[in-house]
């Protein structure tokens, strides 16, 4: 994949993500654009373990505040760091510590949970559940929370659960647009022309209006997502952008480009699908895995997000001790 070509896209996404999502599961401080070995990476300045970077596998790799990059004899590396911009290092430069991110709302530096913590959390989850409200992961992931949908392609999807659920779409002022009771929760999706018809009717009156979809289960648990409809004008622009990527790129680049276009219009479900398609071609690509995790995180599909994270963890282990 041509990283120089992709850089605006990757950095744009990183910047948008970095500046807007302080609490996302990862907040990289930059990316590695080009590696000419030998180049070494270490977790921090005091770490004695130095991991050699691979020109292929580590192209596009995210780098985090506090990590250190050093070039060996004859080696060079080009980074893009959010706080300083492009940075090229050679064997003449001292080890470079990635600077802190600009202040984006988080007040304490993040660390990834260790094995003990992961094991603890799993044990805790099997013991009981939190009896408190949390800014919750919604069971609904299509339409995505705070995302948009194209009416023609809308299929309501949620994390399957046993029992019957009530599906309801309302306007922000509480007016019912469509309600269905007794929907089989274990199916996990609802593909209904009646829903699309109701939304088209609504769209004719308010092309950019926001809507609330709620899913109520047997226990009274409610999952709500707020979403908007893609206006007909945006649909046309998006179609043109997708056509560009379809004709000007192929393979991985095409999927990445399309995913970017979908993300731009808040069509997170479609963006996630593009990354999943790209992963079929390059299943071990760390960068794509990370993008797919991000995309699925935005849709709220935490089941898929977690499975991707597991793959990512397996792939990362040899590199990130």
């Amino acid at each position: 994949m041509n990283l120089t070509f992709c850089r605006p896209i990757i950095l744009g996404m990183l910047l948008v993500r970095g500046l807007t999502s302080a609490n996302a599961s990862d907040s990289p401080a930059g990316v590695i654009e080009y590696v000419h070995p030998p180049v070494f990476w270490s977790k921090n300045a005091s770490s004695k373990t130095q991991t050699p970077l691979d020109p292929d596998q580590d192209q596009g790799r995210r780098i985090y505040s506090g990590e250190v990059v050093r070039c060996g004899r004859g080696g060079s590396v080009r980074l893009f760091v959010l706080a300083v911009g492009e940075k090229t290092l050679t064997d003449r430069n001292p080890p470079y510590e990635i600077p802190l991110l600009p202040d984006i709302g988080a007040t304490s530096a993040g660390t990834k949970p260790d094995d003990w913590q992961i094991k603890f959390m799993k044990a805790l989850d099997s013991y009981g559940e939190a009896g408190a409200t949390l800014g919750g992961q919604s069971a609904v992931y299509s339409p995505p929370d705070n995302g948009a949908v194209e009416v023609s392609g809308l299929v309501i999807r949620w994390v399957p659960s046993p029992g019957y659920v009530k599906v309801q779409i309302q306007t922000l002022d509480g007016q019912d647009l469509w309600v269905a009771d007794g929907v089989d929760g274990s199916v996990g999706q609802l593909d209904s022309e009646k829903v699309r018809h109701a939304l088209r009717t609504y769209q004719a009156q308010d092309p950019r209006g926001s809507l609330v979809l709620s899913l109520t289960g047997l226990k009274g648990n409610e999952s709500r997502v707020m979403f908007s409809l893609l206006s007909p004008a945006s649909e046309k622009t998006l179609a043109a952008e997708l056509a560009y990527w379809d004709t000007q790129a192929k393979g991985l680049m095409r999927h990445v480009g399309r995913a970017y276009a979908f993300s731009h219009y808040f069509l997170f479900v479609e963006a996630a699908a593009e990354y999943d398609a790209a992963l079929l071609e390059a299943p071990r690509s760390r960068d794509l895995l990370e993008k797919a995790v991000q995309a699925n995180h935005k849709t709220g599909n935490f089941v898929r997000e977690n499975s991707l994270k597991e793959i990512l963890t397996r792939e990362e282990q040899p590199i990130r001790p």
Binding site: R17, T20, S21, A22, N23, A24, S25, D26, S27, I104, G105, A106, T107, S108, A109, G110, T111, K112, P113, D114, D115, W116, Q117, I118, K119, F120, M121, A123, L124, S126, Y127, G128, E129, A130, G131, A132, T133, L134, G135, G136, Q137, S138, D145, N146, K219, G220, N221, E222, S223, K298, G300
Partner: protein, 450 residues
């Protein structure tokens, strides 16, 4: 045709004393029947420990448990609880200002307003049933830190105990539970144990003992640490352990543990649930100009979502699942007033046996005493009356007096069932034995008898 011809009646209907031989035979029969009854009871009590996993038995126990919980609603303290819930369902969840792509949470500035209004009424303690876990990989959100700082300063300034809910954060070392070592004392976990037998939530954790020694690096220095549950922290009351002898038969808390942590659990008294729901104060009312007075003064106050929440639990006495905040409120009430007790495994067997011996012993005493004047048949006919009386007495002891005993004994219905079926079983055993004896004597006629 009347049997028992050995008893002769006078013209006035009085009963003459039977002969010594008849009396001896009658008493032998009473002893034999009582022994059979006790053996049946022992077999039944032991069998109970094996059959309790079956759905039907669990259903019976669940129904009895619900009934006992309904009885607890009758207690005076259930109507006069000092626990209150402030419902923040009226506050819409929003995306964090610093992160429009994050999941929606209760806006912290709104939560601060509610906290201020509650604290102004000088409650005994405040529990915030909003999960303040944060994703360690990205750091603690700034609005959470600001809110926690407000809580901490308010607790210091107004001398109010304030606790904040955590769950997964227990995986961090204690100083990081709420992101700052100073806030450690405010952390209280809100993990509600998954239901076991009854498919309904009946238990709550009291304390969690986390063993950090297994962690790599610096975290291991924290060793073993205790964290209170939200209800235990709010109640802030220590109950004396049961004496060792009584503790063999009944317990207040039950321990559970795995490699990472150990918890002590207690049974929740859902008696105050209707009162808690009735007295729930909405944040809208609390914050409105319509002054709610001093409804929360000296009370234990839980702030949480009572409606439209994702933490709902099926509990006894409520046909619909209730929000987690009510579960914590009932649990805090339980620890604040009187805890509930349950039987240990030996206690259950002993309890069942005691009930059986109580009944059969009573019957035996009456029959023994009356054996001189009442025939076995007359005594048998009165057995049903005695059994019914015993059943009523058992119900009285186990269910009607549960507010006094606080013992959640669910087996008494099964004991009553055993009492009812014991007579047919006893007759079956007797007739089988009789048939066997006849069969044996037919095949092996005794020597010397003609």
């Amino acid at each position: 045709m009347r049997k028992g011809g050995a008893v002769k009646r006078t013209q006035r209907g009085e009963t003459n004393l039977p002969s010594a031989g008849v009396l001896q035979k009658r008493r032998k029969q009473i002893l034999s029947e009582t022994a059979t009854g006790i053996i049946i009871a022992i077999v039944f009590a032991i069998a109970m420990t094996y059959v309790e996993k079956y759905d039907f038995i669990q259903l019976v126990e669940k129904s009895v448990y619900e009934w006992l919980q309904l009885r607890l609603q009758m207690s005076g303290e259930a109507h006069d609880t000092d626990v209150r819930v402030v419902d923040i369902s009226g506050i819409e969840k929003e995306k964090r200002p610093s992160n429009p792509l994050s999941v929606a949470v209760t806006p912290r500035d709104e939560l601060t307003r509610v906290l201020d209004a509650v604290a102004a009424q000088k409650p005994a303690a405040i529990g915030i049933d909003v999960n303040f876990d944060f994703d360690r990989s990205s750091g603690q959100p700034s609005d959470d830190r600001k809110f926690l700082a407000d809580c901490f300063s308010k607790a210091q300034e107004k001398k109010i105990r304030i606790y904040v809910a955590i769950h997964h954060a227990l995986a961090n070392y204690p100083e990081a539970w709420l992101g700052d070592p100073n806030y450690r004392g405010m952390a209280a976990f809100v993990t509600v144990p998954n239901p076991e037998d009854h498919e309904i939530t009946t238990r709550m954790s009291e304390f969690m003992r986390v063993d950090y020694t297994g962690r790599a690096g610096d975290a291991a220095r924290h060793g073993v640490v205790f964290c209170p549950s939200l209800s235990a922290a709010l109640a802030n009351r220590e109950w004396k352990p049961i004496s060792s002898l009584l503790g063999f038969f009944m317990q207040r808390i039950q321990g559970k543990q795995n490699d990472q942590f150990a918890v002590s659990e207690f049974l929740i008294d859902f008696g105050p649930l209707p009162t808690l729901m009735r007295h729930t104060l909405t944040s809208d009312r609390l914050l409105s100009s319509d002054d709610p007075g001093e409804l929360l003064t000296k009370k234990i106050v839980l702030i949480g979502r009572a409606k439209q929440t994702t933490d709902n639990f099926s509990v006894p006495t409520s046909p619909l699942p209730i929000a987690g905040v009510f579960v914590h409120a009932c649990a805090a009430h339980t620890l604040l007033y009187r805890p509930l007790y349950r039987l240990t495994a030996p206690g259950r067997i002993f309890g069942d046996l005691f009930a059986a011996l109580f009944v059969f012993g009573g019957i035996f005493a009456i029959r023994w005493h009356r054996s001189a004047v009442v025939s076995s048949e007359q005594a048998t006919s009165r057995l049903h009356v005695i059994l019914t009386s015993c059943a009523v007495l058992l119900i009285l002891m186990a269910a009607l007096l549960v507010n006094w005993t606080r013992l959640m004994w669910t087996d008494f219905v099964l004991v009553i069932f055993a009492l009812v079926v014991h007579s047919p079983i006893e007759r079956l055993i007797a007739s089988t034995g009789h048939a066997l004896r006849i069969g044996r004597s037919a095949h092996h006629p005794r020597k010397g008898r003609h």
